[in-house]
């Protein structure tokens, strides 16, 4: 287990370094920031001085080294628009994003489990096909459009819930439901497929043969095995969920880091964009690392690969 842990830790670290490298080259590609930072009337000497100050006159590998060592200390430079550190601006928004993402994730997983178990335990085949059909349909709808439909129904027409901003629980309902329904759709279909797979296994047939009740077979025998594929997908899916959060935050003007990144892009505020993308990737890698560990505990076979 310790070796497995160490291997995954090395992998996660390499990934973070890779993301930082990509960020470095993107920032360099964006061209000379001196023109953006100085007034238009600046002289050639002034621009040269700023370039030296920013270290842009040094060889690229020295710049790379400086960027990496600074980034690893959490220094992505200051925002080009306001006097504040880029990382600070991003971290300020993290709680709002976590609140939205985790609520949607929890809600989605819980309801998907409830739905999948109901589908398995009931003998009603029509219920199953209706639920699967709804899930299929929901997966074909872009998050932002679904959010707008909810706004049209619950904010504009019925006037029950607010459509913008963050505040009490009533502000959380629409964006969280928007994201959660996407999660439910995905996990409901995955769980159903995983259950279907288990249904054909020998151990299930044995359990039936010795007269076990269906309730017990599904909950005690099939559920733990059906969990495994779910854990793998959950890690990868979080990336999609994070992407969905960026869009959802914009739809509902939710003050999270996704909205900050989108605004920073339109203001050409590169340090903030890069800090945001790196922080998001870091969260994603950290979660995937945890998921891997969980997987190693749930399924001992995986540790020896």
């Amino acid at each position: 287990m310790l070796g497995f842990f160490a291997r995954r830790l090395v992998q996660a670290t390499l990934t973070i370094l890779g993301v930082l490298t990509v960020a470095f080259f993107l920032v360099r590609l964006s061209g000379d920031p001196t023109a953006l930072l100085l007034p238009e009337a600046a002289t050639a000497q002034e621009m040269e001085a700023l370039r030296t100050e920013l270290g842009l006159d040094r060889p690229i590998w020295v710049q790379y080294w400086v960027f990496m060592s600074k980034a690893l200390q959490g220094d992505f430079g200051n925002s080009l628009r306001i006097e504040a550190s880029a990382l600070g601006l991003v971290l300020e928004r993290v709680p709002a994003t976590l609140e939205l993402t985790l609520t949607a994730f929890g809600l989605g997983i819980a309801l998907a489990f409830a739905g999948a178990l109901t589908m398995r335990l009931s003998t009603n085949q029509r219920l199953r096909s209706v639920l699967l059909w709804i899930a299929f349909t929901r997966q074909a709808i872009p998050v932002f459009w679904f959010g707008l439909l909810l706004i049209i129904l619950f904010s504009v027409t019925l006037r029950w819930l607010p459509s913008v901003g963050r505040g009490g629980i009533e502000h959380l309902v629409l964006p969280a439901v928007t994201l959660a329904t996407f999660e439910i759709a995905l996990y409901l279909r995955l769980l159903d497929a995983a259950f279907g797979e288990q249904e054909r296994q020998d151990y299930v047939r044995t359990a039936y043969a010795k007269g076990q009740t269906r309730m017990k077979i599904v909950l005690r025998h099939m559920l733990p095995n059906a969990l495994l594929p779910l854990v793998t997908i959950a890690g990868v899916n979080l990336g999609i969920l994070l992407g969905g959060t960026v869009v959802t935050e914009t739809v509902f003007s939710w003050p999270g880091m996704g909205r900050l990144i989108v605004q920073a892009v339109s203001q050409r505020d590169y340090p903030v964009v890069m800090a945001g993308v790196v922080v998001a990737s870091f969260m994603f890698v950290a979660i995937n690392f945890t998921v891997d560990m969980l997987y190693g505990i749930l399924d001992p076979r995986i540790r020896y690969r």
Partner: protein, 266 residues
């Protein structure tokens, strides 16, 4: 379903009323089935009084074209890298799969947003970015298939007769993985259409004056109380396209192998 949308999107331009660009400010915000003094608007009009049916048809065409182009780019990259990784194994395989893992660890939308911030939004940039960031699912499936195919008799016999690796990959591996790639591609097409419309919604995708479904939905958000149809109608077109592609790919994968299903979710 996809066929229906394609047919409609390409038939509407043949209608005499087709006119996605000319403005009539007096006839703005019309709800569907209304007519102004000048003409009848089946789908209503946008805030600048442009015929919404025409704009949706053109926007749908643009989405489909970008989607197909991006799928072709990513399919070409993914198949090539996947087959090379699976056929040669060793260090080449580790390097390619390492890049794939790295790419999966940056959420796709965020990565495209970051690059767009630097190189600027344009039709070509968008298509290429979507293509470059979507090759991983093809690469993984192609590699998995190449791993078993390279041990098959026809590949071994070709090799003993002195066939080169390139020849083997091109003549023996490629034809065997292509059908599977088309299935992955049809699923990816739906995903790419969703991502493209999301980026356009954020203002980072297709740029005006070219109509784009995502941007039209975002414009409509300001007028939800006045005329919600401006946001509703383009979304229906996106939904039909994506549902169509998923329907198509699902019909082939329900009996298909398990790794395809898992890779699709990835």
């Amino acid at each position: 379903m996809l066929g229906l949308v394609v047919v409609i999107a390409f038939i509407v331009p043949l209608l005499p009323s087709y006119d996605p660009y000319s403005q009539d400010l007096a006839a703005g915000y019309l709800t569907p089935l209304k007519s102004s003094s000048a003409r009848f608007y089946l789908f209503g009009s946008d805030p600048l009084g442009r015929d919404y049916l025409s704009r949706i048809a053109l926007g749908t065409q643009v989405s489909l074209l970008i989607g197909f182009a991006a799928v072709l780019v990513s399919l070409a990259i993914g198949v090539t890298l996947g087959l090379i990784a699976g056929f040669f194994r060793g260090a080449v395989e580790s390097a390619i799969m390492g890049v794939a893992d790295l790419q999966l660890s940056i959420p796709r939308i965020l990565f495209i947003i970051a690059v767009t911030a630097v190189i600027g939004p344009s039709l070509l940039n968008l298509t290429l970015l979507l293509g470059f960031t979507s090759w991983v699912s093809y690469g993984r499936v192609a590699r998995a298939m190449a791993l078993t195919l390279r041990e098959r008799e026809f590949v071994l016999s070709a090799r003993t007769q002195g066939a080169s690796s390139t020849w083997n990959i091109r003549k023996h591996l490629l034809p065997n993985v292509l059908p599977q790639m088309v299935i992955v591609g049809s699923y990816e097409l739906g995903l790419i259409i969703i991502i493209e419309s999301s980026l356009s919604y954020l203002g980072l995708g297709i740029q005006p004056p070219l109509p784009s479904l995502g941007l039209m939905i975002s414009e409509g958000q300001t007028y939800l109380g006045l005329n919600p149809w401006i946001s509703i109608l383009p979304g229906i077109s996106i939904f039909l396209m994506v549902a169509g592609t998923q329907f198509f790919s699902q019909r082939f994968t329900t009996e298909g192998s398990n790794h395809v299903r898992i890779d699709r979710a990835a």
